[in-house]
Subunit: 351 residues, 2 copies
C-alpha cells in the first residue's frame, strides 16, 4: 500500500509492505543501532544500491537521544565526506528516526533523508510527519526541527523480532489516534485478538492493517497542519504527561508508548473531572490499555514539581498550558483555561 | 529605506536607517555579546517594548561559534521558559546572527527571530538571507539551517563605533557582490573616498548607500534561489578559499571579510590561469582590495592539505569541487571541471 503525504513543499510517499529497491546515485549514511544492524542489516542491504554506504551505529535507547549524540553522528558524516547531495537513511525505532531527521536537517544546512522504521511505534507515528529532535535535561524533544523525509518504507517483516512489550508500546500511539480522531478505529482495536497480535506466524497482516490505518490518518493531520499550529496538537494527547514521566524516570523505566498510555489515563482523569467524558468512556479506554497490558498509573512524588514541568511543554504559550483531552471518544479538544486547582486535583489521583 | 525579501513562504522586510519601535506581545531573548551590550544596549532598549526581556550574552568571536555555544544559548532560553510564541533578537555581527538564527530554528522546533546587525559585514550580508549555523573542526558553517528572520533592522548609528579594520572587512563582502553581479557597483566602490568612509562624522550617509545597494542585490539573489541550488552559490565567491584559511588559522588571525578578500584574490588567480579574466581585471580587483587595506595574500604551508579541505566545502558534490569565479567583472560563473593540476598550480602562487 502507498499513502501519499500531500505537503505543498515536501510531498512524499509512505510505503506499507510494498516491495522496493533503492537505486541511489549518491553516498548514503545508514544510521542505526547495534541491535537492529545485527538483526536486519543483511536483509536491508539487499534492497539498496548506492555509490558508497557508511554505517553509523549509535547506542540504543532514549537516554542517548541528545545533542552529544547528534554531534557524534555529524562528525561521522563529515569523516565520510558526505556532501549536500548525499542521503541519510534512518533505520530503527523512533529514537533513530528522530535523531536521523534532525542530523539530516542541520548537516551542511540540510540533506535528504528517508525513514525505514523497525518498530511498530515508529511505523504508526514517529517515522511519518517530519518531527525531528532530541531531549535535554529540561525535557523531551525540546530541541529539533520540522523536516520531512523524502520517503518512508514500513515493512512488517522487521517487526517480527520485536518483543511483546515493544509491540504493545507501539499500539499505544495507535490507540491515541483512535481516541482523538476516529471512534471506528477504537472498535477495530477492541476487536484485535491479543493472541493474534502477538503470534509471530500471523501478525504480518494485522501489522499491515494497523500501520496503514494509522499512517493514512496521520498523513491527513500533518497535511492540514504541518507545523502544529492547531489540529496536529491533538496528536500530543497523553504526551504532555508522558514527557514529564519519561524525563523524571530518565527514560529508563518506561518505553515511550508505555508512558503515553499512562499519560492518556492521566488526561482522561482530567477530562472526567471537567465533564468532557463520562465514567464509562474513561473506563473503556482504561480497559483497552489493560487488555494490551499497558501501564495506566504512575506515582507522582511531588505534585508541584510535576505541575511546573508543564511550563516547558512546547504547547505552553504565554504561561497557559494547552491540555489535549478527549471530548467524547473519537474527538479531541485543546483546553488552555483549566484552573491550577483542577489540574492539581486530577494529578492528585496519581499520588 | 525598506527592502522587501519576497520569499514565497517567508516574506520579510529589511529596514535600512528607518525609524522603528518594536511593540512585542511576547517574551524576548536578546542574544548579543558583552562588547555590543556595553556600547549599544541602552539605545536599543528605547526601541523595544515586550512582556519580558532576557539578555543572553555570549563570548565575542568566530572561535566560539560552535555547537557548545548553541547548547548554552538554548539552555538559557529554556531557563527563561521561552515558549513557541517567543522571539529571539540577534543583536551583533555575523557570528551573533548566524548563531541566533540557528538557535531559533531548533528551539522547540523553531521560533521567530529578527536580526539587528551591528557590523557593516552583517548589514550587507550575514543578517539577510536566512543562512544560519556554526563551525566545527572540519570547517566553517558546516552545521546549520536555512531559516529566515521575520525582519532585519540595519542602523548606521550602530556602525559608528566600529574600528577601521572591521569597516574594511565589511566592505569586502560588498566588493564580492559587485564582482559577481554588477560592474556599476564596482565603479561605485572605486569612487568611495576612503577618508569619508572612515570619518565618523560623515559616514552614516555612505553606509546607508552601501547597505541599501547590497541588501537590494542580495534580496533578489535569495528570492531566486533560497536554498543555494544555483545562482546563490555565486555569493560564495572567495569563500571556498576563505573558509579553509579561517579554519587553518583557528579564526584568530583574520576577520571573516579579510579572509574573503584573500579568497577573492586566490579565486582570481585561478580565473586568470583559466583565461576567464585578464591581467587588467585581476589587477583592478587587487587594487580595490589594497585601497581599503584588505589583505590579498596568505602563505599556504601544505598544498595538498589545502586542496583536500575543498572536499568538505558545502558546494562540493560527487567529489567535484564547485569553484565560484569571475567571468568578466560583474559576472560570476560556477566551474566544477577544473583539473587538480590547474588548482594546485594556482594555489602554488600563494606558497
Amino acid at each position: 500500500m502507498q499513502i501519499q503525504v500531500n505537503l505543498k513543499d515536501n510531498p512524499y510517499k509512505v510505503f506499507v509492505d510494498e516491495p522496493y529497491f533503492l537505486e541511489l546515485n549518491t553516498k548514503v549514511a545508514l544510521l542505526s543501532n547495534p541491535k537492529i544492524l545485527g538483526l536486519h542489516l543483511n536483509s536491508l542491504l539487499k534492497r539498496i544500491k548506492c555509490e558508497e554506504l557508511f554505517i553509523i551505529s549509535v547506542k540504543d535507547g532514549e537516554e542517548y537521544k541528545n545533542l552529544a549524540s547528534i554531534e557524534e553522528i555529524l562528525n561521522q558524516m563529515f569523516n565520510s565526506k558526505l556532501d549536500r547531495k548525499s542521503l541519510l537513511i534512518s533505520f530503527g525505532g523512533g529514537v533513530i528516526s528522530d535523531m536521523g531527521g534532525f542530523a539530516a536537517s542541520i548537516y551542511q544546512r540540510g540533506i535528504d533523508f528517508i525513514n525505514i522504521p523497525t518498530t511498530l511505534l515508529a511505523c504508526v507515528d514517529a517515522a511519518v510527519g517530519g518531527k525531528t529532535g532530541v531531549n535535554n535535561h529540561f525535557g523531551k524533544n525540546l530541541i529539533g526541527s520540522f523536516y520531512q523525509p523524502k520517503a518512508v518504507y514500513c515493512q512488517s517483516e522487521f517487526l517480527r523480532t520485536l518483543n511483546e512489550r515493544e509491540l504493545k508500546a507501539g499500539l499505544a500511539e495507535f490507540i491515541k489516534m483512535a481516541i482523538m480522531f476516529d471512534e471506528n478505529l477504537l472498535d477495530f482495536i477492541e476487536n484485535i485478538d491479543e493472541t493474534t497480535f502477538l503470534n509471530a506466524n500471523c501478525k504480518d497482516e494485522i501489522f499491515t492493517q494497523i500501520i496503514s490505518k494509522s499512517v493514512a490518518l496521520k498523513a491527513r493531520v500533518v497535511e492540514n497542519d504541518e507545523k502544529e499550529a492547531g489540529l496536529r496538537m491533538l496528536l500530543n494527547y497523553g504526551h504532555t504527561f508522558a514527557h514529564i514521566i519519561e524525563n523524571q524516570t530518565k527514560y529508563k523505566i518506561y518505553l515511550h508508548g508505555e508512558a503515553v498510555a499512562i499519560g492518556m489515563n492521566m488526561a482522561n482523569s482530567l477530562a472526567l473531572n471537567l465533564g468532557l467524558i463520562d465514567e464509562k468512556e474513561c473506563k473503556r479506554v482504561e480497559n483497552i490499555l489493560k487488555k494490551f497490558k499497558l501501564p495506566t498509573t504512575y506515582k507522582i512524588k511531588n505534585l508541584n514539581e510535576f505541575y511546573e514541568a508543564f511550563f516547558l511543554d512546547k504547547k505552553t504559550h504565554h504561561q497557559k498550558i494547552n491540555f489535549i483531552l478527549p471530548h467524547k471518544l473519537g474527538q479531541g479538544i485543546i483546553k488552555n483555561d483549566i484552573s491550577k486547582d483542577m489540574i492539581l486535583k486530577s494529578l492528585g489521583q496519581f499520588q
